[in-house]
């Protein structure tokens, strides 16, 4: 199997910002991403849980996309315009993919 290097970008952000972030990702030319619900966790603001949140305002989502390394800077710049003022975690991991033409 031929493996190809890629970058896996994961952004955890407040649920109300989800559509703004996906719009920013698409503006950077990235059309493939996955959105996952976040059950809960702990951070600088203490522990929190999705259970018992009265509205989407208290929840978080995780948006993951896998891209070619050369597209990373453009994606991060676009995403960071949205993430900058908000609670969130941005991480980039090296990974390998099959079928490189899809990324």
């Amino acid at each position: 199997m031929e493996m190809n290097p890629a970058k896996r970008v994961e952004i955890i952000i407040e649920a109300p910002m989800e559509s703004r972030l996906t719009d920013a990702i698409e503006r950077a030319g990235v059309t493939g991403y996955t959105i996952l619900p976040v059950l809960g966790g702990s951070g600088r603001s203490g522990r929190w849980s999705r259970e018992g949140q009265v509205s989407r305002a208290g929840g978080m989502v995780a948006i993951t996309c896998i891209i070619r390394p050369e597209r990373l800077d453009e994606l991060l710049e676009s995403a960071f315009e949205v993430v900058e003022r908000h609670i969130g975690v941005v991480s980039v991991t090296d990974c390998q993919v099959l079928r490189a033409e899809r990324f």
């Binding site: 109300p16 910002m17 703004r20 203490g46 949140q53 009265v54 509205s55 305002a57 003022r85 908000h86």
Partner: protein, 331 residues
């Protein structure tokens, strides 16, 4: 007068809806694992919005549209715009909150809590008091203007945050607020109720009338759990000034609602509902808007205040108090 308020409050306190809210609150405070699944809570809220909107529409179709409807919508809009300024001024005097936090909290107090409104209609029904059905539409128009006031206060009094970044964040925000699911469902159900009238109600009466209070009990059980968890998590931030504000502001808001209702000439029931709307604080639409537009504001302060202090106050003592005042003024 005081006896009437206390009598009504006592009656209200032993109603199933309040006791279920109390059960949720206590369960959360003693760290019980009782919880209402997220999807179930969402379903319950959809049911309540659909039922209250539809019944409001039917009521308007039965009684017809008059000038007070337009005046009530205008009054609701003005109240929603104006109350955050009063709230902000009070917060700056009573608490040590920053401008951004105070503005965010103030925005919540200009907007409304639809569940408090639903609870007030339930109390009116149990007392056999009728009200103007179009107050549902007034509730819908009161949701958003307060957010605009809060953002204006921040722009005027705070140097925090770059204006450009805030402008970017608020792009599309108004569409989201005005077309949020709660408002669409409430107004849509209201219009459907208005169009189909009593015949439409007859077709679905067994679904939206009899089970209504039972569903409200379950929903308030969940609200009690959420409020209790919020209080437990943020109790350390609740200073006396904030707690006092959380009780004083709804009383002042209700007074503004009473003044508006008297000017318009609403019935006793309508007056109670406008007072309740003016007294209530948002904990669904405004927090979401604030997370987008004012991310630097502390959500645990405004959510705990609106849901942990003002909501229980309105539910237990506020609504009976507003009802007694409205009856005293009406007599």
């Amino acid at each position: 007068m005081v006896e009437t308020v206390l009598g009504l409050a006592a009656q209200n306190l032993v109603s199933p809806i309040i006791l279920f809210f109390a059960l949720g609150l206590v369960a959360a405070l003693v760290r019980s694992d009782l919880s209402v699944p997220e999807a179930a809570a969402k379903t319950l809220s959809i049911y309540l919005l659909f039922a209250i909107g539809f019944k409001g529409g039917v009521s308007v179709s039965a009684h017809g549209i008059d000038g007070t409807l337009i005046l009530s919508l205008i009054a609701g809009t003005i109240l929603s715009f104006a109350l955050p300024f009063l709230a902000f001024a009070l917060l700056r005097v009573m608490t040590r909150l920053s401008v951004v936090d105070a503005a965010a909290v103030a925005g919540h107090y200009g907007s409304i809590s639809i569940v408090t409104f639903v609870a007030a209609t339930s109390v009116l029904e149990s007392q056999g008091i009728t009200s103007e059905g179009y107050l549902v539409a007034v509730a819908a128009v009161m949701e958003a203007p307060a957010i605009l006031s809060a953002l204006w206060i921040v722009a005027k009094y705070s140097g925090n945050g770059s204006a450009k970044a805030r402008e970017k964040d608020t792009q599309g925000l108004w569409r989201e607020i005005l077309l949020n699911g709660s408002i669409v469902l409430l107004v849509g159900s209201f219009l459907i109720g208005f169009l189909t009238g009593k015949d439409g109600l007859k077709e679905i009466e067994s679904f939206i009338v009899s089970p209504f209070k039972g569903v409200l009990c379950l929903f308030l059980l969940d609200m009690g759990l959420v409020a209790g968890r919020g209080l437990r998590a943020s109790a350390h931030q609740m200073r006396p000034g904030l707690i006092s504000f959380g009780i004083l502001m709804p009383v002042l808001g209700s007074a503004a609602g009473l003044a508006a209702a008297s000017l318009i000439g609403l019935s006793t029931g309508g007056t109670v509902l406008l007072m309740t709307l003016s007294a209530s604080a948002s904990y669904i639409a405004v927090p979401a808007a604030m997370r987008v537009a004012l991310p630097e504001a502390n959500p645990s302060i405004y959510l705990t205040m609106s849901l942990g202090i003002t909501f229980p106050f309105n539910l237990t003592l506020g609504i009976p108090f507003y009802l007694s005042i409205a009856q005293a003024v009406g007599d």
